[in-house]
Every structure is written in C-alpha cells, then in structure tokens.
Symmetry: C2
Subunit: 345 residues, 2 copies
DNA sequence: TTGTATGCGTTATCAG
DNA sequence: CTGATAACGCATACAA
C-alpha cells in the first residue's frame, strides 16, 4: 500500500502565500472583504495546486453537508432495478449533482448503533431528504418529515411533506377514454395493492369514471392483487378470470407488470389480446414495447417527477423566501398515453 | 422549520457522569483500560440517551469513514435500472451495510470543484472503492486503482485490481454445448461491443470453441454491435441477417438484450425461433422468461459476484494479513444454463 | 485506571 | 482590508 501524499490544507496555502488561513477561507467562500489583488493571487494559486477543502472538516464546522439523504426501503424488493423508482432516483441524482449536491442512502444504523432516520440525518448533517419508498406507518419516517429537515417525496403523500408525482387520475382517465374511443363499454380493472397510494388513487379514479359514465361497478370486474411482480400478477389473474360471470371488453391494468401477468393468464385461457379483450397497462416500462403484444400503456414522466421533487427540495433547503416561491405541497406531473397493440377496436 | 435539538456530545456525557471525555471515548471503542464499574455505568447511560458519536468529527480525526465509494459512470445509460449492474450494486449494498459500511457515489466534483476520483476519495476518506462501470481508459480510474486505496471491481480487469465476475468462458461453453446437444452444428454469435471486457471474453471463448470442435470461423456468422439496447441490437441484426450467405442453425447472443433485438429481427425476416434457428441469450434478465419465445439463457449469479467483491474489499480494508488470506486477484463466479423455449432440437 | 492536552482542517467572530 | 483566535466533536498520546 502506497503512502498517500497528504492533501494540502488551508494552512499550507496560507503559509505559502504569506497570508492567514482565514483570508484564504474568505476568498474561497466569497465572504467578507478581500482586496482584488490578493483575491486573484490566491485564486490562481488554488487553481494551480488543485486545492480542495476537506469535506468533513467543513461539515463539522458548517453544520451542513451539501448532501441529500435518500430513504429507499426496498418494499417491493426490486431494488435499484425498480422500473419506476430506479429511474426516478437516477434522474434525481443527475439533477442535484450538477447543483453540487450528492446523494447518500439513509439507513437505520451507523456502524453498530441503531438510529432513527432523523437521528441519522442529524448526525450526518444532511441538508435535505428524498423519501422515495418507505413504509408510511414507520414512525421513524413520520418523525423525520416533522423534524424540520427539508423533505420531499416522489410518491408518498403525508401531512407537511412536499411531493411530486404523476397525475394518476389523469392517467386512468385517458386510459378509460381511449378504451371508450375504440368502442369498449365493459371496462374492468386489475390493480396492485391499494395500500400503495398510487394503486389506491387509480382505483378511485376508475370507480369515479364508472359513475361518471353511468356504468355500474361490477364486483367481479375489479381485483386488487396482493404483492408485486409479474408472476404474482399472473397467478392472481388466473383465479380472477375464473371468477368472471361474463368477459369484459377491456381491462385497465394499473401497472405494466400487472398487464403482463394478466395477458399471460388471458392467453392460457385462450382469450386473445386485443381481439377478444383490450388491455392497457401503466408505466411504460422498457419492456412494454417488446411484450407480445406490445403494450398500450400510460407513460409516466419520471424525469419531470424527479426534477420537480429536486427543485422543491433545493428551494426548501435554500429557503430564502424572497426569490424562490414556496413550492406547492403536491405537484402532479402529467402522463401520456402510448398506443401500441394491446388495445384495438 | 423547527429548531433541531442539538445532539449530545461526548462532553455532555462526560460532564453528566463526572468523567472525562477520553474515558467515554475509550469505553466506546473498547480501547485502553477502564474499570468495569464505570464501563457499565457509562454504557448504560449511553444506551439510555441514545448517544451516537458525530460521524464527521470521527472521520476528521480517524482518517477513515466506514464508507465505500462507488464508481458508477453510466456508460450504457441504463442507470440504476441496468439489469446487471443495478442488481450487483443492490446486493453489494445489502452485504456491506450489515457490516457497518455505507455506500457513496464517487463523482468528479465536490461542490463546484472538479476533482479526480482519487482526490475525491482522499478528501472524503473513503475506506475502499467498488468500481462497477467506468471507462478503462480514464486516467482518473487508473490513478485511483494504483493509489493505495483498496479497490475492487465486479466487471473490470486491470493490473493491481481485485475483482469478482462471472465465468464468461464457462457461460459460452455451456451455451455452445447445449446447442451441440440439441443437434445444432452451425453456430453463429451476436456480440456487443468488444471494447467491453465481457463481450471480448465471450467472443474469445466462442472462437476457441469453434477451433476446439474443428469448425471454421465464418466471418458473416459473427457480428459485434456498436452500442447498447434492444432497439440498437434490432437494427444491427437486420443488416447482419441480410449479410448471411446461408442461415446458421443456432445463434449465441452475448446478452439477453441482444437476443431480443435479434429475435425481433429474425421474426421480421420470417425466420422462426426456435423452429428455424435456436437462439440463446446471456444474463437471464427479469424479462427473459416473459419474452416470446421465453429465452434460453445463461444466468449470472449477481449476488455471489457482489458478495465476493465485497468480501475481497473488506479484507483488503481490514488487511491485518494474519487471519485473512489475501484475496485472489480475479475470482470467477460460476454461471448457470436456464433452458426455456428459444432453443429446440 | 482515569484525566489533560492537543490536533484533525475548517469557518466565523472579532480585533487590528 | 487582513489576521489572530476560538470553536466544531472526537480520539489519542501522555501525564497523573
């Protein structure tokens, strides 16, 4: 193991230039009054040597860290590969990095000690936190949201929590309308767990559309699955299909995963998509276009969601109040209908 | 914004207990000699108050950070969703977190300053780094690997770099053997960019198998694509197929993405899979089993790769040399053939 | 066995 | 406009 050459400190610079550390610090932070000549001299020297202030020392002193904590508890056990949250996280990361912030994952332990989220954030002096996925009933999350540390989410709704998320009502509405347009009247729905905010909202939107169009809600034409994943959707779809008294003309699946599991189950039952039943998905995951048939679906604007959340968080963090508007509590990002081949007149 | 109650410091504890800070510190770090009675008393108090040492202060003093840096430059622009690297990252994270380490992404900037990877790591006092994806020609990576900071990779081969990765030779060999077993003789190969280590090795293994079985290498039956992604594979496959003088009986695609793009191109050419040509993929991504036809493929053991890399890194970090063996430079993790429906006698 | 003093690299306050 | 000094919170020699 090579010995690492010790980094330059602010003292080294000061000594080399015949100045005091505090002068250097002031120049580096555009604070206080410093002569133009010395300022330029120091800046040149700093550039030449590539000096960068030690981060941990700065944090220790400055009480903030240019760091954003991320709560990402792996609820559906997709991990980073999660087609929605993985992308949102990536887009968020890209966006805040150019603003000079970096991401750290918040965990409930620090070395060997168990901490609450809030304690962890405080200990690390994170400037803000992004709550991506997590258990709404976890008191640790509630504590965090109400702790005064700026928080945003990209999925969760909670009192005092700023968030950006898809306009789910719009998504289901344009799905429904599309199906109506192509002549379907009996529209069923296949949902994920309604303990999830997104599925609950989509379910509600579906039911409201039914009443709006004077269509009765048929018990056996709505199902919400427990659990996640295509395999799971498939097996639940099998029994769901068996429970129908009559075939619907179309089904809105509340995610592409659900749509794929459902379509596979339909195939097994010799029901053709879209000839016998039109199916529409939600998300437009990467494989939606590769599925057989290619999925008609609702595309969520993951980048826009991430950037809206990031903007809200950043303005909360730098909350001067004068230039920046207070971000609205919940921002709804429009979605888009992608018509492919799983729906047809 | 609520005012945050200031955290307990080691001084507070010392004062409250009528002891000195250093005694507390010693007890917390199991170092030095402390009376059993005071030890217990302090430990109880610490537990009761939930005191946790400030991380940044510790790092500043201790020169290490219980933190592992991750180089994850988004080469194929898949981001976290990358079916291979996303999973490896997740598994690595899970594994090191229980050992008390956390992950940070290494970037080339700190606030506003541009840094090399090495400078960044030094500044942050990371204990080790995982190089997941990155440009091998980037001098910043080479500098990092040779800097003395413990490094491992899960894909890259470089002098002085410990790594864990799939046994690609084995993967191509069992693919080839499987195709032979089901009676295919003319076996073509469809590769990704050979600038990537994995594709280069798979290509080499393929060519070696050809000579081993006394089969000539046919120029037009091998192609390596530029770029990544199913769409890209599809369009390159279209022109590749057009270039054939004769149809092969089977094709080994060096990733599932490639296989899917290829099969779609085959379909367009009215070539049926597997009836006319058997196709085998590589990776066993989530969608492989849902594709039409479900893909026969090579499953990489991403968890084993991540854990082998993590073990190597951890033992490098805690390199006492006495208990722990020096980890071997390159560990090859076995792969597994998953037979589905894209290959058939 | 316990306590004191000092440094880790910054930044902020206050003099000069 | 610039410089000394005191924190920030912890850990470690060394003294007691």
């Amino acid at each position: 193991m090579k010995t690492q050459k010790p980094r330059l400190t602010i003292y080294d610079i000061a000594r080399d230039m015949g100045l005091s550390p505090s002068t250097i610090s002031k120049i580096l932070h555009h604070t206080g009054k410093v002569g133009d000549a010395t300022r330029k001299r120091v800046l040149d020297y700093v550039k030449a040597t590539g000096y960068v202030a030690n981060f941990n020392a700065r944090i220790l002193k400055a009480k903030h860290s240019w760091t954003i904590g991320v709560v990402f508890s792996d609820i559906a056990s997709f991990g980073f590969e999660h087609p929605f949250f993985g992308s949102v996280l990536q887009a968020f990361k890209n966006y805040v990095e150019v603003k000079g912030y970096e991401l750290v994952f918040i965990v409930k332990k620090l070395g060997q000690s168990e901490l609450t989220y809030y304690e962890w954030c405080q200990n690390k002096s994170v400037d803000g936190v992004l709550i991506l996925t997590g258990d709404l009933n976890d008191p640790s999350i509630i504590e965090l949201v109400n702790s005064g540390i700026p928080c945003v989410s990209a999925d969760i709704i909670m009192p005092n929590l700023y968030s950006a998320m898809s306009d789910d009502k719009m998504g289901i509405t344009i799905s429904f309308t599309h199906l109506l347009d192509i002549g379907c009247r009996d529209i069923a729905a296949f949902s994920g767990p309604t303990s999830s905010r997104a599925y609950a909202e989509r379910t509600l939107a579906y039911r409201n559309l039914l009443v709006k169009h004077n269509t009765p809600f048929i018990e056996s034409w709505y199902h919400d699955c427990d659990g996640y994943g295509v395999q799971n959707a498939y097996s639940q779809a099998i029994t769901w299909i068996a429970s129908w008294k009559q075939k619907p003309q179309a089904i809105i699946a509340f995610s592409d995963d659900l749509a794929m599991g459902l379509i596979n189950a339909l195939k097994v039952n010799k029901i053709r998509v879209p000839e016998d039943i039109s199916v529409i998905g939600y998300d437009d995951i990467a494989f939606a276009s590769l599925f057989n048939p290619p999925l008609t679906t609702i595309r969520q604007n993951k980048v826009a969601i991430a950037e809206a959340a990031a903007d809200a968080l950043l303005s909360l963090i730098n909350g001067n109040g004068d230039i920046l508007e207070k971000p609205t509590i919940i921002q709804r990002i429009p979605v888009q209908l992608i018509i492919r081949e799983s729906t047809k007149k």
